[in-house]
């Protein structure tokens, strides 16, 4: 724990350093200088930090409580959609069709009136509540049924994967009222500030860094509490915890709900920076990737999970640029290699070898394998 505290402190210092250095290098260093940080790179950093928050959310439940969710991208996407709805309302009459209330896609579908679930999204505060509340509510309902029925292990993972997939299919439908397969894009501004301006981008990155640091501290506080110790106890011996008088399902439920809203907040910060949200964010592979970041970084160490997200995504940015077809294979190989040789992730490289966190890797390999298979199959057709 102490060795983790030290690394955690270093992680926080790093986040703060990025929050200071990135804006300075972008705003005050001239573009001609080799030290200048392009707005593209700045946005990339912001994106990675959103992924790091998602990784924290996944690690909290998987690394500590032993609950392997293969559907966390769904919570991330829901938070992103909520932010997207606010950004769409912000466009106002500047859309292609110039309707002051209805977003373009609704005009295109000949809708006359704003659907009820879009009411209120012209207020930023309303969107903020929904961003955390909707993922939390979904996790509460889903988790209540799943944990109460003692659905665990690979069955829980498959159900979360199915949940994410079902949401993806639903959001693809035009009549759901979320823009169908195009999703939301062409955002103009946030709280009155131009989203395309460098300064707005800088502020978004700083806000994301602050959110990442706050998420880390919140997760750290949970993990260090007696409840956090109980999560590890549940992971080690669930029935023992139950016979000690703990209502295990309620502990699992609350940490799942917290983790889901954290993922939602990460998604909400992600959308204004990348400028688009569409149903592909619900794709099952996204949830699997998030689990892989955690495994690569170091399951059960919060800073490891966050760093894993940054490193894997950095590699992804490189690979999808240089060798796009190979990315999924590289990711799979990375995961298998880490599981086999670095059961504690990259964090385990530095620390002395202790007992490996027992492998819940099988379902991930299975899920990833099926995706590689499907993508291969579709290419051969």
């Amino acid at each position: 724990m102490i060795e983790q505290d030290r690394a955690g402190a270093a992680f926080l210092v790093l986040v703060v350093a990025v929050a200071i250095a990135a804006p300075v290098l972008n705003q005050f260093v001239p573009a001609s200088s080799p030290f200048h940080l392009s707005t593209y790179s700045l946005t990339l950093i912001g994106k990675y930090m959103c992924y790091a928050m998602l990784a924290l959310a996944v690690d909290l439940i998987w690394g500590y409580a032993g609950i392997l969710s293969l559907g966390h991208a769904a919570f991330f996407a829901l938070g992103g959609y909520a932010m997207g709805m606010y950004l769409m309302r912000q466009i106002g009459p500047r859309g292609v069709y110039g309707d002051p209330i209805l977003p373009d896609f609704m005009v295109f579908l000949n809708w006359q009136k704003l659907p009820w679930f879009w009411v209120g999204f012209n207020h930023f505060w309303f969107a903020l509540i929904v961003i955390a509340a909707v993922p939390a509510a979904l996790a509460l309902v889903f988790g209540w049924f799943a944990f109460r029925s003692r659905v665990t292990g690979v069955y829980f993972s498959i159900m979360t994967q199915a949940l994410s997939y079902a949401l993806m299919l639903a959001f693809f439908r035009n009549d759901m009222g979320f823009g169908g397969n195009n999703g939301f894009t062409d955002f103009k501004d946030i709280l009155g500030f131009d989203l395309h301006a460098d300064r707005t981008r800088v502020v978004l990155v700083v806000v994301t860094a602050a959110a990442l640091a706050a998420s880390y501290l919140a997760c750290r506080a949970i993990v260090a509490s007696r409840a956090g110790r109980l999560f590890r106890a549940i992971r080690d011996a669930e029935s023992r915890a139950r016979f000690l008088g703990y209502r295990v399902e309620s502990y699992k439920l609350w940490v799942f709900v917290f983790s889901a809203s954290l993922a939602g907040i990460a998604g909400a910060l992600y959308v204004p920076q990348v400028g688009i949200i569409n149903p592909s964010e619900f794709a099952p592979i996204n949830s699997i990737e998030a689990v892989i970041w955690v495994a690569v970084g170091g399951r059960g160490t919060l800073f490891g999970a966050a760093m894993g997200a940054v490193l894997v995504n950095y590699a992804k940015t490189y690979f999808t640029g240089a060798l796009p077809e190979l990315w999924l294979y590289a990711l799979g190989a990375l995961f298998v290699l880490v599981t086999l040789f670095l059961p504690r992730g990259l964090v385990g490289l530095g620390a002395r070898r202790r007992r490996a966190v027992h492998g819940a890797a099988a379902p991930v390999i299975w899920a990833l394998g099926s995706h590689v298979g499907v993508s291969l199959g579709s290419k051969l057709k």
Binding site: R226, A233, D236, A237, L244, G245, Y246, Y251, R355, V357
Partner: protein, 254 residues
């Protein structure tokens, strides 16, 4: 709630009446009737499949019987409670395989076993009180693991894990302890130490010990119950039981 025809007598800690449990036609318990006195140390023996573990499962709420009743003390209907509720009511169970939280320290294992109202929100802010710390220290002393308090439970020897698990049950201040095969896989020294530990607990708690090791049973038992095919076959002190021809036939003689 259906009350039994007559309430269990006040000197009984556990009263099982006519319990029947079947799994796909196989009767794991077949009209089991058994009672244990307050402060008693009862050993339960029997060949494999006699229903020992199923009986413990019923008492701790893991398995629901098809028929019968199970009462804890005078007024707690065990069949109406969930596993955590039964634990809270004062029944502790030690599993056959030592089950401790391996990635936590010995001290943290005992901390999580503190008796009390447990909820996620309380445990987020819970701090150990001075009295709780003292209680943990006392239990560490009883189970002989004071020197290992900061060690990860996963690094303990087999026997030490068993003692830690018993210590976790003691943290709960249970009235009744169910102990499933405490000395399986132990060295003779560890077995002797465990016998001492269980005997020292018998005064303040009631204990039910399921065990295969006959020498161990002889060393601690005052009263032995033999189960066979889900029913009580014989009951009495070790000598009576060992000389019972039916017992010899199904178990000891085999």
């Amino acid at each position: 709630m259906i009350r039994p025809p007559h309430l269990p007598s006040p000197d009984k800690i556990l009263t099982l009446d006519d319990l029947t449990v079947s799994f796909d036609g196989f009767k794991a318990l077949d009209g089991l009737t058994l009672s244990v006195d307050r402060g008693e140390l009862r050993c339960i023996i029997g060949p494999n499949g006699a229903g020992k573990t199923t009986m413990m499962d019923v008492v701790t709420g893991k398995t629901r019987p098809d028929h019968g009743s199970a009462w804890f003390a005078q007024d707690v209907d065990l069949l109406a409670l969930s596993e955590p509720e039964i634990a809270q009511a004062g029944i502790g169970r030690k599993f056959q395989k030592p089950t401790v939280f391996e990635s936590l320290t010995v001290f943290e294992n005992l901390e999580l076993a503190i008796w009390g109202d447990k909820s996620f929100w309380k445990d987020l802010v819970a701090r150990l009180t001075r009295a709780e710390r003292q209680h943990i220290d006392d239990i560490l002393d009883v189970i002989g693991l004071t020197a290992e308090r900061a060690a990860l439970a996963g690094t303990l020897a087999h026997g030490q894990k068993q003692w830690l698990e018993i210590g976790m049950l003691l943290m709960q201040e249970p009235e009744l302890l169910l102990v499933d095969e405490p000395v399986a896989g132990m060295t003779p020294q560890e077995t002797a130490r465990t016998a001492e530990l269980l005997l020292s607990l018998a005064a303040e708690h009631s204990l039910i010990v399921v065990e295969h090791d006959m020498d161990f049973v002889r060393s601690i038992a005052r009263r032995v119950t033999v189960l066979h095919e889900g029913r009580v076959l014989a009951d009495g002190n070790m000598d009576q039981v060992q000389n019972d021809p039916r017992v010899v036939e199904v178990y000891l003689g085999a």
